[in-house]
């Protein structure tokens, strides 16, 4: 995806496209779908909480009551799943996942995490992810896959009972679904905060550059 032009015999890098169009489109569709899924999911959670004392409340959740939340959840699931499949397919076929996210070295992750926490990590080259980014982006893709599969396991514990069994049964699948959501929310907090701290990264996800 890099565009380079030869000028007077010297190769001068033209500002390269960081994110191709398909990445940007699927990113923003996913962003909206996941917000609807989380918001309505919180309302659904409140109908039968898994943890004493943990309620999300109507003010930060979607749908106003259980039926409304379920309508949202089972509408946005199509957007999330279809968009997610397109993203995963293109990410694998184009080689972008392999190029951008692999390899992830644990030592490099530690070193980059340390640098990030002491504000010494550079974001000069948006087209190259540091090891922490690689880990988080690969991790959230994994969490996304788990949240969809565990969701299917809860939704269809008879027709898809083999999948439900894979998660340790219906009740266990609810916990898996919850923790995958929690992982995604945790990622979002860091992801959105950093996008705001490094605005050019946000611009790149809109314009591509």
């Amino acid at each position: 995806m890099s565009a380079e032009t030869a000028v007077d015999g010297n190769r001068i890098a033209v500002r390269e496209t960081v994110h191709p169009l398909w990445v940007r489109v699927t990113h923003w569709i996913n962003a909206l779908a996941i917000l609807v899924m989380i918001g309505s999911g919180w309302q659904i959670y409140d109908a039968a909480p898994l943890f004493d004392g943990l309620r999300f409340g109507k003010s930060i959740s979607l749908g106003n009551w259980l039926a409304g939340a379920l309508l949202w959840h089972f509408a946005a699931m199509w957007v999330l799943a279809i968009n997610g499949l397109v993203y995963l397919t293109l990410g694998i076929v184009s080689g972008r996942f392999r190029r951008k996210l692999l390899p992830i070295s644990p030592r490099q992750v530690l070193a980059d995490a340390k640098a990030a926490l002491s504000f010494k990590l550079s974001h000069d080259d948006l087209s190259r992810y540091n090891a922490v980014q690689k880990l988080l982006y690969a991790g959230v893709i994994l969490a996304g896959i788990v949240v969809v599969l565990s969701g299917l396991a809860i939704w269809k514990p008879v027709q898809l009972q083999e999948l439900t069994a894979l998660f340790g049964g219906y009740d266990a699948a609810r916990y898996v679904h919850f923790f995958a959501m929690a992982a995604i929310v945790g990622f979002l907090v860091v992801h959105v905060a950093l996008a705001l701290i490094v605005p050019k990264s946000l611009r790149a996800m809109v314009t591509g550059r």
């Binding site: 109908a47 106003n64 009551w65 409304g68 199509w78 027709q159």
Partner: protein, 257 residues
């Protein structure tokens, strides 16, 4: 609060009680209004972002689409997982839109199951006649629309067996149930004919207690709990979808598991 649609035979007192736990404080129709703007930004590009009814309409259309998707996914032969006695949840929770104390009291002696619609024999059935039907047993998981689940033990006769005995036209699309307190439910015929769909007269090998639906409940382990009506007093084989108590308020119609 907006006046609820009156369902014939419904005790208004029960309906009022129903509001407390599950219903939003504000009007039911507002249940999507708060979300309408976000919805417009996400799914409903081009729709009026303030009009909650539009959002609700679109969401209900998608829910109807989901009915079809679930019907396509439904296997008439795939059985719900069954469990050993030791896995039974004790006690099985009571769950309804009213308190346990307000559950209907049905007199078993005068009880008659009304049969209507596309059937050859519309003779009402006494409880003694129903109890004489062949008995099957299942220990399956009851999954509530709220998310919790519980494993219970139910005995009764397969609904398909009963439908055969009354000469039901199983090419019809639906079976509709009416309950003593006015609760109603419509299920699709493939589910009605599923081998585990049961006219249930016993819980854990004892006559159904009032809390679990005496004298008869319809146990459907392939559907969410609210599609398992209790205190059933009438059934109709029909091609008209007459909805149901919760379905009419926004819960997904098919609600398959």
């Amino acid at each position: 609060m907006r006046q609820r649609r009156i369902i014939p035979g419904v005790d208004p007192q029960l309906l009022i009680k129903d509001a407390a736990s599950l219903m939003p404080a504000a009007s039911r129709r507002a249940f999507l209004r708060g979300a309408a703007s976000l919805g417009a930004l996400t799914l409903l590009t081009g729709c009026d972002i303030i009009d909650g009814d539009t959002a609700e309409g679109v969401l209900r259309k998608i829910s109807a689409f989901n009915d079809g998707a679930q019907a396509a996914l439904f296997s008439p032969t795939k059985l719900a997982p069954t469990y050993p006695e030791s896995a039974i949840t004790r006690p099985l929770p009571f769950n309804a839109y009213y308190d346990e104390d307000d559950a209907p009291v049905v007199d078993g002696n005068s009880y008659k199951l009304e049969v209507a619609g596309l059937v050859d024999n519309k003779k009402p059935w006494t409880l003694a006649e129903l109890h004489a039907l062949p008995e099957v047993s299942q220990i399956t998981r009851h999954v509530c629309v709220e998310g919790w689940s519980a494993i219970g033990s139910w005995q009764g006769t397969p609904l398909s067996e009963f439908l055969a005995r009354i000469g039901a036209d199983t090419r019809a699309k639906y079976v509709w149930f009416k309950c003593a307190e006015g609760y109603t439910n419509t299920i699709d015929m493939p589910t009605a004919l599923h081998p585990q769909t049961q006219m249930t007269f016993k819980y854990d090998h004892k006559i159904l207690p009032r809390a679990y639906g005496f004298p008869m409940k319809i146990r459907i382990p392939t559907k969410l709990g609210f599609k398992n009506p209790k205190y059933v007093v009438a059934m109709e084989v029909t091609n008209t979808d007459r909805g149901g108590y919760w379905e009419n308020q926004g819960y997904n119609w098919f609600s398959g598991l």
